[in-house]
Amino acid sequence: MDLLQILVNGLSVGAVYGLFALGYTLVFSVLGVINFAHGAVFTLGAYFTYLLIGGAVGANGLLAGFQLPFALPFWGALPLAGLGAALVALLVERVAFRPLRRRRADPLLALITSLGAGVILVNLIQLLVGAESYAIPTGALGGLPASFPLLGARVRTVQALLLGIAVLLLALLTLWLEGSRNGKGLQAVAEDAETAQLLGIDSTAMVRLAFGLSGFLAGVAGGLVGLSVSIAGPYFGIGYGLKGLAVLVLGGLGSVPGAVLGGLIVGLAEAFVPADWSGYKDAVSYGFLFLVLLLRPRGLLGRPLPTKV
């Protein structure tokens, strides 16, 4: 019973990490850089979901008291929040990445511009809606119970949904990448942008597609985490951002299944930390990452770097 409970806890937390890291992975695969604004887009997804289900802005911020004139059910609000986050991610690409790419600037510079974009977004959230915590109502899932028994373990419904949605999104993303023209185009750009361009693939459009998808995934993940815990102010994506980076590296930079596998492994590593040591779970999971990278520097599913002669 204990083992099952630990597995359930680890997988549900890991699903969130994996979903978050998927967005990092998509951008990294086409541009070879990490989008540090991803955490802020994730945070925005949570706020968008909150507003779309009819949540009101608190007493602080320029939008104090603001409430949309309609309220959507959670399952309607979540994809719309994902779309809103995708638009913001596209804006980040336009402002923080594209100008540097056009000038063929060092990719390292994009780390800094994306970090700047992330900081601006977080501060904008604070300016507009204040720094207080928000939460999606506990009844947002309608008549579903808060938790249910599973072979002697107890599972929170929202965590089971998180796991299910992460697996579903991974399956859809894999199908799309392997089976659609755009998906294959994205892979071609990830492989070699210049060659792909010569073959008639619009690499700029593919980069935009990667950002849009990444933003959508971040927005959906933000909405789901907002439902599971709370939106603890404009900074609440930062912790997930750091963990997402660890997952990205563990799974293998640029690997879609690696991101999900890495997320689940980090989640499980945290869950298997003995309860008396649970306050040190971050140290354990990062220590585990350290060990894996010593043995396999390209991550679990990352491709080996080509040898230059």
């Binding site: 204990d2 409970q5 630990i6 806890n9 549900s12 937390v13 007493a59 602080n60 604070q126 204040g130 720094a131 207080e132 915590s133 928000y134 939460a135 109502p137 506990t138 009844g139 808060a146 938790s147 373990a153 107890r154 929170r156 965590q159 985490v225 599971s228 815990v229 709370s230 603890a232 102010g233 404009p234 900074y235 609440f236 912790g239 945290e270 869950a271 930390v273 309860a275 008396d276 040591w277 649970s278 306050g279 779970k281 971050d282």
Partner: protein, 398 residues
């Protein structure tokens, strides 16, 4: 670069920093009261403790209005400069230094004990009075002569909630304890809670450690629920504590929950929502206290906030500025601020703060020579959520 070079550069930078600090120390200059009598506050207005800082900011604004409405400091308005600590120690240190260099006569803050242990020594070294509005950890006034607080320490208040839980349910036998191991307030308070439990014959069946920024507590909760507790005692801050309560209830825990001072704010309502209901918290403030000072404070708060009930943190922040304001009035009458050097005025103000007795929203308070607050009345409240689970109140238990 060799180690020797690095040490040389480091020593040079340190010297420059110290020289810069001395050059900007305005302690030897006259007190600048031209635009009002300057007092500073450092609150957590952003970051994970922002929920407390927002409550405190309202208290300071109301106290400032009250003081200036009553004539300020003998005709000169009290001027409050507010800075954000960002909820962490470097932010609190920087904000304290900035305020001190500005020439404030006294400081209010920082919001968290964790920050106070870092920032208060700066004020102590520079000879600036600090009145802490919300630091409850053991050892705060002991930092030095210039450090005082109006927030009674956990050891006085926390055991009251355990006593009340036993009164509600005398057969309690199995207590589980949670605390954030990376937070000074939480670690100090849990020691007190655990001692209070042992004193009542309730040895904790499990002690679960969390971290301040944790949001998911399923592992710790699963481990605790395996011990079948009938009482859960939390020393956590509002956001992590609110999330933990929600997850505890969602995972099926139905027993009593006692929380410490960190969750003593209505800001927990949107986090744990309907699951906040029944939570027991000992408090240093009751809106139902029938004194002229509390009636005036209550009216001012309700006028400003549409009839809402003020939280303890707001009342304590109000009290902190009230104490400084009243001490400044007395000091200025006895020894005019205008013309005095800032360093001397700050020292005299600290002596004046410690010497006074104050009729505040918390009841009558005064200080020990070390700066510890002496407060006569404490309360235990139980959270009662409205049917929709979106708002609630701290109902005083008689």
């Amino acid at each position: 670069m060799s180690v020797g070079h690095l040490l040389g550069v480091g020593t040079g930078l340190l010297t420059l920093t110290l020289l810069a600090g001395c050059a900007t120390d305005p302690g030897s200059k006259p007190v600048d009261v031209a635009g009002g009598v300057p007092v500073g506050a450092v609150l957590a207005l952003t970051g994970n403790a922002n929920v407390y800082g927002q409550d405190q900011k309202i208290g300071l604004e109301l106290a400032l209005q009250h003081r200036n409405g009553a004539g300020g400091i003998n005709g000169n308005p009290l001027k409050l400069a507010l800075e954000d600590s960002g909820s962490d120690e470097p932010g609190a240190n920087a904000a304290f230094t900035l305020q001190i260099n500005r020439g404030v006569l006294a400081l209010i803050g920082p919001t968290l004990s964790q920050q106070a242990f870092s920032a208060d020594p700066i004020a102590q070294r520079r000879g600036v009075p600090v009145v802490a509005p919300s630091n409850t950890a053991t050892g705060i006034p002991e930092i030095g002569f210039f450090i005082s607080r109006v927030s009674a320490q956990s050891s006085v208040i926390a055991p009251l909630a355990i006593e009340r839980a036993l009164k509600i349910q005398p057969g309690l036998k199995r207590a589980a304890v949670f605390y954030a191991q990376d937070d000074a307030y939480s670690t100090a308070e849990t020691t007190i809670f655990q001692k209070a439990l042992k004193d009542k014959g309730l040895d904790p069946v499990t002690v679960q450690r969390t971290q301040l920024n944790d949001q998911d507590f399923q592992n710790q909760i699963s481990a605790a629920l395996r011990e079948k507790p009938d009482l859960i005692v939390l020393s956590l801050q509002a956001v992590d504590g609110g999330n933990l309560i929600r997850q505890l209830r969602e995972l099926g825990y139905k027993g009593l929950i006692v929380a410490g001072n960190g969750m003593n704010t209505p800001n927990i309502y949107p986090i744990c929502q309907k699951y906040c209901d029944g939570l027991l918290i000992a408090q240093a403030y009751s809106p139902e206290l029938d004194t002229p000072a509390n009636t005036a404070f209550l009216k001012a708060f309700q006028d400003a906030k549409g009839g809402a009930i003020p939280p303890q943190l707001t009342a304590q922040a109000y009290t902190a500025l009230q104490v400084i304001g009243e001490a400044l009035v007395r000091l200025d009458k006895r020894q005019p601020l205008k013309g005095a050097t800032l360093g001397n005025a700050r020292k005299a103000l600290m002596e004046e703060i410690l010497a006074g007795t104050y009729a505040t929203p918390l009841g009558e308070i005064r200080f020990t020579p070390e700066g510890e607050v002496i407060q006569s009345q404490f309360f235990v409240a139980q959270v009662r959520m409205d049917p929709g689970g979106r708002s609630g109140r701290f109902a005083l238990l008689k």
